[in-house]
Amino acid sequence: MSAVTLQDIVKRFGSFTAVHRTTLEIPEGAFVTLLGPSGCGKTTNLRMIAGLLDPSEGEILIGGKRVNDVPIHKRNLGLVFQNYALFPHKTVAENVAFGLKYRDVPKSEIPAKVQDALELVQLPNVGDRYPKELSGGQQQRIALARAIVIEPDVLLLDEPLSALDANLREDMRVELKRIQERIGVTTVFVTHDQSEALAMSDLIVVMSEGRVEQVGKPEEVYNTPASEFVANFLGASNITEAQCIEHGASVVVEDATFGKVTVPAAKAPNLTGTGKAKLVVRAEKLLLARDAAPEGVISVPATVETVDYQGQAVRYFVRVGEAQLQAINMIDERPFAAGDAVNLHLRPQDCAALPG
């Protein structure tokens, strides 16, 4: 049974439609990420699940029960905000205990539960401090403790990491996932950061302009994007106009840059037949080399135009005839320089195809 179901949900603000008819199943115990750029409707969906917004149409089910008319304070959800939203006039312990006061928890058990929650987020000794005495990362841990101590049916995280600086963000990412796995709570996580989504999720829901573009496991949405938007939003992709010239046991597409490419059928699930198509080549699958290609690898001559050196990796912009392509390669020595003539190597099985 799914923990949360959005059934034909539509959300309009005046004449603006923030969420177009959306149906979504969030499995019990899963870590599900709503991923998309700002304004894609991901936060609107989260706020509707939370009860902070009412859907214009459709039904929201939590644990199989319709909750459209259940006010937020009766939904038993844990909510964590981007800006932590800790109560500044209450101590850390009072913050964490806040939700317990409204539940059937005997007063005598509250301190122990608060302490357990603080230990879970690895801050056992800050109970009598005030939020402003803690760092941003610590405050976010307390916000998490406050949300999970009430044993919510669903944990809702609204960009909880984006206010933290880069290093802390990666630590918290691991930490958050560890805690979620330990308590096994169904989690809906909203982010615009693809690396957070890929690292943490059991399931990613990619959204754009109020619509769900693709739902899948991280490796599915990454390797087999269902749309041009997904291909561009997750990682860097080269998308070229192509023709599908064979659609059967194997799918063969032809474009001006790489010629005939045999794409695995599994990586062209939305391509229904021959005709106009798009070839999707991940930037990190395009390898710059001086040598000729081994057997079964496509090789095309190219010229390096721009070199964006990033330490362990380098991003090249290369020109092949009319087309400019992006390639991200790991390097262990000197990168190629602008102006170098190189061969671009591409394994056909690394390509994906979309309808044109």
């Binding site: 006010p71 009766k74 909510l79 800006n83 806040f98 409204y102």
Partner: protein
């Protein structure tokens, strides 16, 4: 001159016009008042220069002055309470409204464009014997003769509330604006009802604004002079009216000085208590 010395001097140069104004227009005249309060008014007309405690003794021991001082503080306190009860919901409404906030704030400021005296006198046209309310009631046949509704303590408080309410609303509004709306959402998500979220989170966090508004209303209310003159009866004098009476009517500057310093001291203690617990910064926020 070194750069450091120049930089150290800069704030003082910028402040000097304001400091000069405070010194010459406030501190020095106030010192005159302090000195005056120890002089003595003689029967001849000319004040006797010296160090006499007679005015202070009179101001502090005379029951008449004490009663009016207590009554002044009572009126100011009632006014402040009413302003708080009326102003808080209005401020909450403005702070939480979307889009038209600026128009609402402008409407709140609108009364300041009209002279305080005119605004106070407008109540005569509403509540006077030939005012709007009496005319309406007589036209409707509810009463046959006009009622005397003016010139009592209630109308003084009414006038003060009318005058001071915007100060309360602005102060509360500013503190509510500074409260993250996510806090109430967080509280409700944890199981609190909207009302519990308000009393547990929003209200305590907005208390500094309420206190700042309260202090302003109280101090301005307690120091008021015009309102009881226009809307009060003969027995509704407030302390500032006594000061006026002593200085302008009786030409007794020494006594008037002592009385005005007494009021200043009482209100000064209140401000000091406020400052001790909440700090002046909150007040500056509300005024700015």
């Amino acid at each position: 001159m070194s750069v450091e010395a120049r930089e150290a001097r800069q704030p003082w140069i910028l402040l000097s016009p304001a400091l000069a104004a405070v010194l010459f227009l406030l501190i020095i005249p106030l010192m005159f008042i302090v000195v005056y309060s120890f002089w003595l008014r003689s029967a001849m007309g000319a004040d006797q220069v010296g160090f006499y405690l007679d005015n202070w003794q009179k101001a502090l021991s005379d029951r008449f002055y004490r009663d009016i001082l207590l009554n002044t503080l009572k009126i100011a306190a009632i006014t402040t309470l009413i302003c708080g009860l009326m102003g808080y919901p209005a401020a909450y409404f403005i702070a939480r409204s979307k889009g038209n906030k600026m128009i609402l704030l402008l409407l709140l400021m609108l009364p300041f464009w009209i002279s305080y005296i005119i605004r106070t006198m407008s109540w005569i046209n509403i509540l006077g014997t030939s005012g709007a309310l009496n005319t309406l009631l007589m036209t409707l046949g509810i009463i046959s003769d006009p009622m005397q509704m003016l010139y009592n303590e209630a109308t003084v408080i009414l006038g003060l509330v009318h005058f001071l309410l915007p100060f309360m609303v602005l102060n509360v509004y500013v503190s509510l604006e500074g409260i993250d709306t996510n806090l109430e959402d967080a509280a409700t998500s944890l199981g609190a009802t909207r009302w519990e979220a308000f009393t547990q989170v929003t209200l305590p966090l907005s208390l500094p604004g309420l206190a700042a508004g309260g202090l302003l209303c109280f101090v301005l209310g307690a120091g008021t002079y015009i309102t009881p003159v226009i809307l009060g009866g003969p027995t509704d004098a407030m302390f500032a009216n006594l000061v006026f009476e002593a200085i302008i009517t009786q030409l007794n500057w020494p006594l008037g000085s002592a009385l005005s310093l007494l009021l200043l001291a009482v209100l000064g203690v209140l401000v000091a208590i406020y400052n001790r617990y909440l700090g002046m910064a909150q007040l500056a926020k509300g005024l700015g």
